[in-house]
Structure formats: C-alpha cells, structure tokens
C-alpha cells in the first residue's frame, strides 16, 4: 500500500493541486482573520455596553451576559449549522463565505468578550477612583487610564484564541466553503490516499498554526515586561 501512495505523490503534488491548496490556505486564514477580528470588535462594544451604569442599560447587560454564557456552551459545528439555516431561510442566495464568517463572528464574540471583560477589570480600582476624584468622565477614564493598561492583559489570550481558531475553521468545510479541509475531502474523493491527503493537509494546518502561535508567545512575553510596554505606549500619547 505504501508503494501505491508513493506512486500517487507526483500526481498529488501537481501544480494545479498545489495552487488549489494554497488558495484554500488563504481562504482558511481569511475566514479566521475576518471572523475573529470582527468578532473581537463587536465583543468590545458588547463589553462596553455591559459596563454602562444606570437602569436603562439593564436590558443590554442582560442580553450580553446571556449571549456570552449561551454561545460559549454550544459547539462550533452546531453554531455553524444554525447560522446556515437561519440565513438561508431569510436570504436564499447568501454566499457560503458570508455564512461562515458570520458563524465565526458569533462564536468569537462569545469567547473574546470574556477576555476583554477580564482585561478591563484587571486595572486596579484605585486608579479609577483617582480619575473619578479628578472629575474624569467615564469615557475619559476608559480611554486614558483603563484601556492603555488593559491591552497588555487582553491581547495575548485574544491572539491565542484567534490563532487557535485556524484549526476550528476546518468545521466550516461542512457547509461547503472552499477552505483547506474541504479541498482535502475533494482530493480524497478523487481517489488519492487518505494518508497522503490528510497527512499533507495536517502539515499545512501546522504550517499556518505553529509559527503564528510562536508569534503569539513572543507578543505575550513582550507585553509582560513593563519596560517594553512603555516603549510600546510612547508611540501613542495618552
């Protein structure tokens, strides 16, 4: 059997296939980047809304708490299917790419919201009191005191989540998006050995995930030391 696999290799690694796989990798990265970054931004808004004081903000707070607690407990595959069915029920010609991005977004919001909330709450209450005592508005306190310090706590886990999501995008192959896993299935259906196909696909995922996760580790180390944090902030006046 090994011999047959070896025979398949030249055909498998043909130019056409390589181009296809390369494009599929691009699709995987695009899905991850767009979905996760959009999700992060929406999560940010959600967390800010949740922190607003006053009775009128109560429904927002409730909605945002419920949303996070529910969508952190549903598997991504189920979320993807739900998004697929709901969107297709209303917009029958929605592109699969859009559906996948929306699903990733919804999932990412639930996970990054907790990271963001933790980061904002990590800034010592005492500094916030000092700002309040000096008549800083809530917005000014957020922008000038809390956020500059919260970034260092938020970014490493947020980046780690996004890099980790590269692997989770494999599931959107189930709704027919032309990402890496989908192409892998295609090639396997064409008759190429499962070992060859999925071994290669695994290595391609590895090639995307591992370097980026090392970068994430570097980022975390850099943000942890206060000196580097400062040179990083000198570029942005408070």
């Amino acid at each position: 059997m090994l011999i047959e696999i070896l025979h398949q290799i030249p055909r498998f690694f043909s130019g056409g296939h390589l181009r296809l796989l390369f494009q599929a990798m691009g699709m995987t990265l695009a899905l991850t980047a767009i979905g996760c970054v959009t999700g992060f931004l929406i999560a940010f808004l959600l967390v800010l809304l949740r922190r607003m004081p006053g009775i009128w903000a109560l429904p927002f707070r409730l909605v945002s708490i419920l949303y996070v607690e529910v969508f952190r407990r549903i598997p991504f595959l189920v979320v993807t299917y739900l998004v697929l069915f709901f969107i297709q029920a209303f917009v029958s010609d929605a592109s699969l790419f859009t559906i996948a991005v929306v699903a990733i977004c919804i999932y990412a919001v639930a996970y990054t919201a907790e990271i963001i909330r933790g980061g904002l709450e990590s800034v010592a209450r005492q500094q916030i009191e000092a700002a309040t005592a000096m008549n800083f508005s809530r917005w000014q306190t957020l922008m000038r005191v809390i956020l500059p310090q919260a970034w260092a706590v938020i970014l490493p886990p947020a980046v780690a989540f996004m890099v980790g999501f590269i692997k989770d995008t494999a599931l959107v192959s189930q709704v027919g998006v032309f990402e890496l896993t989908f192409r892998g299935k295609e090639l396997n259906n064409e008759g190429f050995s499962g070992v060859l196909v999925f071994g290669t696909i695994a290595l391609l995922y590895f090639a995307m995930s591992y370097p980026l996760s090392r970068c994430g580790g570097w980022l975390e180390r850099r943000l942890a030391s206060p000196r580097s944090q400062r040179s990083h902030q000198r570029l942005r006046p408070t």
Binding site: L77, G184, V197, A202, F206
Partner: protein, 225 residues
C-alpha cells in the same frame, strides 16, 4: 420568508436526541480518561525524562495542538483503510479525540507538576515521611488541587466541542442525531435550536457538578460564570 416554525415536532424527537446525548457523554468520558492517561505519561516524560523522551513528548504535543481534530479523525477514518484497518466512525473519533486531548492534557498536567514546590517535599521529609508517603499525602493532593479547575474546564470543552466533530464522520452523538433526524423530518432549524439548548443544559450540569465536586473534594473554587 415562508417557513413556519414547528417546534412541537422537534420536541417529539427528544428521546432520539437524548440517545445522542448519551453517546456524547460516553465519547466525552472515554476521551477524557484516555487523554488523561496520555497526559500523565506525556507530562512525566517532559518533566522527568531524558532529552530524547522530552523531545518526543514535545513533538507530540506540538503536532496535535496545531492540527485540527477533524483532520486527525479524517486521517484515521479515510487513511487507515489504505492499510487494511477499517475502524468504524466511533472508534476513529474516539482515538483521534483521545490523541488530541492527550496533547492538551500533557500541558495541563505538566503545569501541575511544575507547581509542586520542592519546599513541600522537604518539609514532608523532615517530618519523617518516606518518598512514597510524600508523594501520596503532599504532592499529589497539591497537584490535583492546582490542576482541577483546568481539568474540569477541559472536560466540558471536550464534551461540547470535541464530540460534535464526530458527527462529520457519522457518529450518532448529539449533533449526529440532530442531522439524522433532520434529514428525515426536514425540521432543521427547530432540531438544531433544540440541540443547541440541550448542549447548553448539558454543559451547565457538567460544569456545576464538577464545581461542586471540586468544592467538596479539594476545596477548590471553580468558576462557572
């Protein structure tokens, strides 16, 4: 939009779905314990092993944490038949997920090993405990208490995310059952909304019970919300 929701139909199918939930639990439990054994072995290799063993365990962890579980399962399900090994979808999912979980659990356990302070062992030694006693009464409880929250959380994660992957290759766990039933009654949206609800309930129950066990057995506070 001309789609009328009929949740009644979906709720009628609950028995079938609950059967799927049982398979989800089975898969989750087996995966967790299998993965924990691998994790223990891997963490031991990485902490106490020589350079070769450490490298080997390290490579295993790095490989399985940077490749998708689905691809690992596909490899077993579609690749092994080339060598005459035809495992059914449940077995492939189980083995794939276990190997995947083992990698993450290696890191969790290793963190636990590292957290054990030499000071505690020295103190135990001065109290006259043998090495075995030290391990049993001081080290193991300390490590268990340190890693319990991470383990509990990981179990819920495997339950929720890990097992649903099996549906892709045809395992009749909760998601798989939802697909099976939906292909017959065409109530996809309702079925999946109900299934989402079941997952939320399942994970809440699991988290709560594990938190209670943690509080009672280890006096560890585990965060649910």
């Amino acid at each position: 939009m001309n789609y009328t929701f009929q949740f009644g139909v979906a709720l009628q199918q609950l028995p079938g779905l609950l059967q799927g939930a049982i398979v989800t639990f089975e898969l989750g439990l087996l995966t967790f314990w299998g993965g924990a054994l691998i994790g223990l072995l891997g963490a031991s290799l990485k902490t106490f092993g020589g350079p070769v063993l450490r490298r080997f365990a390290g490579a295993y962890v790095i490989f399985f944490t940077n490749t998708p579980a689905l691809i690992q399962i596909y490899f077993l399900y579609y690749g092994l038949p080339d060598f005459g090994i035809r495992w059914d979808s449940f077995t492939c999912t189980l083995i794939g997920l276990t190997l995947n979980a083992g990698a993450y659990l290696t890191e969790i356990m290793r963190a636990g090993f590292i957290s054990a302070h030499r000071h505690e062992m020295e103190a135990a030694e001065t109290l006259g405990m043998s090495l075995w006693q030290q391990i049993r009464f001081v080290i193991v409880p300390h490590i268990a208490k340190t890693i319990y929250p991470a383990l509990a959380n990981f179990f819920v994660v495997i339950l929720v995310m890990g097992t649903s992957v099996g549906a892709v290759v045809g395992v009749n766990e909760l998601t798989g059952q939802a697909i099976n039933i939906s292909t017959e009654n065409y109530r996809w949206i309702e079925m999946f909304v109900v299934v989402a609800g079941i997952y939320v309930v399942l994970t809440l129950i699991a988290s709560l019970s594990l938190a209670l066990v943690g509080r009672w057995a280890f006096r560890v506070r585990v965060k649910i919300f």
